[in-house]
Amino acid sequence: MDVTSLPFVLMAIAAAFIFYTVSSKYKNAFLIILSLGFIGSFNLYLLAYILAYASVNYFVGLKIPVVTWKKSLFRIGIVLNLLQLIILRYSSFAIDPVLEVLNINVQVSSLSSIIVPVGISYFTLQGIGYLVNVKMGWEKPEARFPDFLLYITFFPKFLSGPIERSNHLLPQLKAFKSFKSEDVTAGLRLILFGLFKKIIVANHLATAVAFTYSNNEAVGGLNILLVVLIQPLYLYFDFSGYTDIAIGVAKMFGIDLLPNFNRPFLSENVTTLWKRMHMSLSLWFNDYIFKQTSFRFRKWGKYAAVFAVFITFTLFGIWHGAGWTFMILGFLQAVAINYEYFTKKWRVAAFSRMSDSSRIWTGRIFTYLFFGISHIFFFAPDLTTALGSFSKFKNLSHFADDNVLHGPLFFGLAFALIFMVIEVIQNDYKSLYEKFISYWSTHRLLRYSVYYAATFLIVSQLAGNTSFIYEMF
């Protein structure tokens, strides 16, 4: 079921109201039925698969603290998690070529066309994170299978996160949830914002990006430059739009999901950017990969951190998909973060002569440009196209138009700019932002006019393709 469709939104609203009429004893059962129904709407094999997946992780988690061979059991659990991820997500890249070399006529990747493993990259990290927490004694294993199943399958975050931590979501699932009008209105507001970001902003920026990569031979250096500037906004509004919808729907049920974005493009360096962008994923990698790796190699001194950054971000890149492009994307982020780490003193000294605002904005612009350029490896369908795009920079005078600079792009950019200006005010001019919020909350007519205009714009643009970038992971 499409998350930006009217049926999904109407179903979510109706379900939220039914949820509060159901006795507290059956509330989680109701959410499980909804979530399994949602997953089943994609594929019934996936539904069966997710039940098996949750069962295995539940039993492994339950047994880790009580058996004598806990280390081995933990390792088995992690290997099973990774194995199913590799088979269903990376076999075309990691297994099939090997089998071909060995002359074995089996295509493991065909399994993924049967199971259609949507959301696998997300629920696998949740499963692994849970097992690590239990093994390390950071949390007790979940005793109730229905609650654990709901933790894995909770429908608002199933497709594309936020990647929940078991010790954050499970206690909320167990808590008694009474109707709070603030939760429902806050949830509805977030859904509206999310739909607006996705349908009005991201979808209108998408055409220029898609055109550039699908016509890579014909486009010129100026097209690539334009895309470098647009694609960060496209990615941000697409994914944060989805996240707002997910968090909003969960909020209507009285559940707070983890935040995923904190005004990332106001970061002054790449290190900070990754603490504010796709936060649930970057924090997961920070806690479970970076910290563990740098601890294990702590004898190496500061080089342990350098090594850990490379490992973390290369895996971070691979998490996005099988292919060299994603690996290079992660590697580039690691290079930038290490560069920032080693040149910090020098940079502080060099920039100290600048005024605060010039320094901040120089940092923001360079960070944004680095993100935009490195994400050529994210959007390009293959390495040849990505490298070809870089070679286009040699001829910046050529621009293939073919309706790239058309109304929809400017329409999307105009609203993106409005959102970004609001973020700057929220971040840099807090008192002005507070005044704005106080005016907003005391002027009902203004509020409802904006809600109406936004809803009408969304509804009028719902026709067409509405898939999310991060849905494919």
């Binding site: 009217l6 109201f17 009008s181 809803t455 009408f456 009028s460 719902l462 026709a463 067409g464």
Partner: protein
């Protein structure tokens, strides 16, 4: 409970304008997809879903007229009219043109299956292929969505997408002023249909009345005004890239099985296009392998049909006299 009722009331109040718009859509049925109609030539200012209209006409008339001969294809097939084709095949009954906009092989396959499932004998068939036949099929664009009964797709999804089409700002801002002022304005282009056309309510034969009239009045002006619809040609051999997949092979075989079961007299005609790009050799070979070389006629590439601009209305749609010449080529050769 009070809080819940208040929020619910607010949501309902907030939704009222959208409910009214939905009500207007259901009552007025602008795209003629909700109710059944005797004549789909009505609401001539609306671009209709040809797949839906053809199917509805077929459903309504098939018992009365006992069609036994069918032309299948995209809008290019409209220029091979049933009234002309019926002279080339043996039939006592009415011929039906089962066209659909941007028809892909999946649409053609589903129509042949649909007729067969209804136990209607296909005595003659003309399968009109073009450069789109093997292209990827997307059943989400309302202009070319398949009829849910034929394609066995979701009826709810079909109507949902049409409701969204009605709610599109481009549609509402064109249709409301057009209906109120009864006047066509340039910005309405693409939303409001201006060129008169007519479909025969029995055979579904297309009459391109508006365009034919323009050509009759001043053909030089017609081509000058539409120069952007005729792409430059290199004059050298250029071929489409291969588009057929394993799904296409399966569909082609199923079509062939049904035609064989019915002892159908059939031909496959691959339409000429002004750009002179030849059909992909692999796709052609596949088509010939399934249907037999003697039944497949390829008119793409550089040839006498694609030479003159005056043979075409635009880059892809040839004129009816060309359609007749194509039929001469197909059936003259076949009868040798």
């Amino acid at each position: 409970m009070d809080k819940k009722a208040t929020i619910l009331k607010r949501i309902i109040l907030f939704s009222i304008p959208f409910m009214i718009l939905t009500g207007v859509y259901i009552i007025t049925d602008p795209f003629m997809v909700i109710y059944e109609y005797d004549d789909y030539n009505r609401k001539e200012y609306i671009h209709k879903n040809r797949d839906f209209v053809s199917t509805e006409m077929f459903k309504k008339n098939s018992e009365k007229y006992v069609y036994d001969s069918f032309i299948f294809g995209s809008s290019t097939s409209l220029f091979i009219p049933p009234s002309i084709w019926s002279n080339y095949v043996e039939t006592d009954n009415k011929v039906f043109s089962f066209d659909a906009s941007s028809e892909r092989l999946a649409g053609l396959w589903s129509k042949v299956k649909y007729i067969d499932e209804r136990n209607i004998k296909i005595k003659n068939a003309l399968l009109v292929f073009d450069f789109r036949t093997f292209k990827e099929f997307d059943n989400t664009d309302p202009a070319s969505m398949k009829h849910f009964e034929v394609y066995h797709s979701s009826k709810l999804d079909f109507h949902y997408r049409y409701l969204l089409q009605f709610l599109k700002i481009e549609f509402l801002t064109a249709i409301i002023p057009y209906k109120l002022l009864n006047r066509y304005l340039p910005y309405m282009e693409g939303v409001i249909a201006v060129m008169p056309e007519y479909y025969d309510p029995i055979t579904n034969e297309f009459h391109n009345t508006g365009v034919d009239q323009l050509l009759k009045t001043d053909s030089v002006k017609y081509y000058d005004d539409r120069s952007d619809r005729f792409p430059a040609r290199s004059g050298e051999y250029v071929e489409e890239s291969r588009m057929s997949t394993s799904d296409h092979i399966q569909m082609l075989n199923e079509i062939k099985d049904i035609l064989d079961k019915n002892n159908t007299y059939y031909k496959v005609l691959i339409c000429p296009s002004y750009n002179q790009v030849a059909y992909n050799r692999e796709d052609l070979k596949l088509t010939e392998t399934v249907f037999g070389k003697e039944n497949v006629f390829n008119f793409t590439g550089i040839n006498r049909f694609t030479r003159e601009k005056s043979n075409f209305y635009d880059a892809t749609h040839f004129k009816k006299f060309v359609g007749k010449q194509l039929l001469d080529s197909v059936y003259y050769v076949s009868n040798q």
